[in-house]
Amino acid sequence: MRNSSHLTLSLIAAGILAACSTTPPQNPALTDARATYNTARSNPQVTQLAPLELKEAGDTLDKAETARNRGDDEATVNQLAYLTAQKVAIARETAERKQAEIDIERASARRDQVRLEARTAEANAAKQKAEMAQQIAEQRAQALAAANAQSQRDQTLIAARAAELEEARRQAALAQQASDQHAVALAEANAEAARAQAMLDQQQQQLNTIKAQQAAAAEQRARELAEANARAEQAQALLAQQEAELKELNARKTERGMVITLGDVLFNVDKATLSAGGVSNVKKLADFLKSHPDRRVVVEGHTDSSGSASYNQALSEKRAAAVETELVEMGIQSDRIATRGFGESAPVANNETSAGRQMNRRVDIVLPDESATN
């Protein structure tokens, strides 16, 4: 601050020049200007960023102080105080502008950094998306390849089925043809069958007729058979009867038929005539033969070995003839009788003994078997 001597001088000078106004020692405008300048000067932002502007404000303040101290009129001091205040304000605004520019500088760097981060994040996200899309695309490609392979297989199958179908159609056409042919043949066959059926019916009718006839004939035959059976039974009965009769006649069965032996006692000794017993035997035979007119007899005479062969031969023949004669007289026709003499050629016993000889002296009457199938 200025010393009091300067102040006094200023006051005196101001008093001398005081033609228009008085200058009070304290100027409010200047005081305010000084205060605002001091505040700005203690603000590091202002001192660092707007030193020139602050200095200009300070210079103007000095001028204002000087003017006051010199005792210049109030208007001048006020003017300088006003200019000072405005210049201080300019310094402040300048400092703020520069600070804002510094902030912009720093912020731009940060923004570039953050922009880089953002772009990186975007790029990573896009990359992830792309990778996922790639994966999906690969999966889809695989699925498509599988589907294609499947489609190929299906195509092959379809082609095979189509070929089969074609073949089947062809076969069906052939079968249809064959069927048509068969239908024609069938129609013919049916006609044929109808004709055959007609014939068959006819034949059936004929057959029926024949059957009826045959049935009648069979009946007839059955009747005949029955009759024959009856006859056979009759014959059997007759035969049985005959046999029984023959048994009564003492006939014995041989391979030649029934044989009745008229023994020696039935003849007169050394004669060819029948005894009474002989006659009765021959009578039984004759009855038999009358009962059975279909039977024949073969009379065979035999002798023993005594005497000559020729003699015996004649004798045997005579004996056989005697039987025949007897039979004829009894009513048996001679064509039913055959005679033979065997002489001594067919002995049935030992001629050495008398019993034996007696046995050899016989007449065999053979009744040949007259079977129903004769």
Binding site: S21, D73, E96, A100, A107
Partner: protein, 129 residues
């Protein structure tokens, strides 16, 4: 000061006396026409307008322009002391308007960059999710 119909030659001593009186009344010495100051002040006002003072420092700019007009008027009536004073004030007012406009624009730009950063950070967060 109204002009009379007196001839210019006769006006001079009248004006001289008037100026002296005014100068004495003003308490200062007789000042020459402050042409340089006027030029500087006009330039400063133009500069303030160009810097966007209308938008960012309308009050200060209007004040500067008013004072410049008043200075022009003082020049016209040859009140050079008044003209100089008003012109000086118009100059600092215009310079303050410029500084305010520049500062405001810078601060807006700074805020814009901060906003960009905020938006970018949001993007990162969104993408990171």
């Amino acid at each position: 000061m109204t002009t009379t119909s007196i001839q210019s030659h006769a006006r001079l001593p009248l004006y001289a006396a008037a100026s002296l009186a005014l100068g004495l009344l003003a308490g200062c010495a007789m000042t020459p026409p402050p042409s340089q100051q006027m030029a500087v002040s006009r330039a400063a006002v133009e500069s303030a307008r160009a810097a966007g003072g209308n938008q960012y420092a309308p009050v200060e700019l209007q004040q500067a322009m008013n004072k410049l007009d008043a200075a022009e008027q003082a020049m016209a009536r040859e009140d050079y002391a008044e003209a100089k004073k008003l012109a000086e004030q118009a100059e600092v007012d215009a310079r303050l308007a410029s500084a305010t406009a520049h500062s405001a624009k810078a601060q807006r730009a700074s805020a814009a960059v901060e906003e960009d950063i905020r938006v970018l950070r949001q993007e990162i967060d969104r993408v990171a999710r």
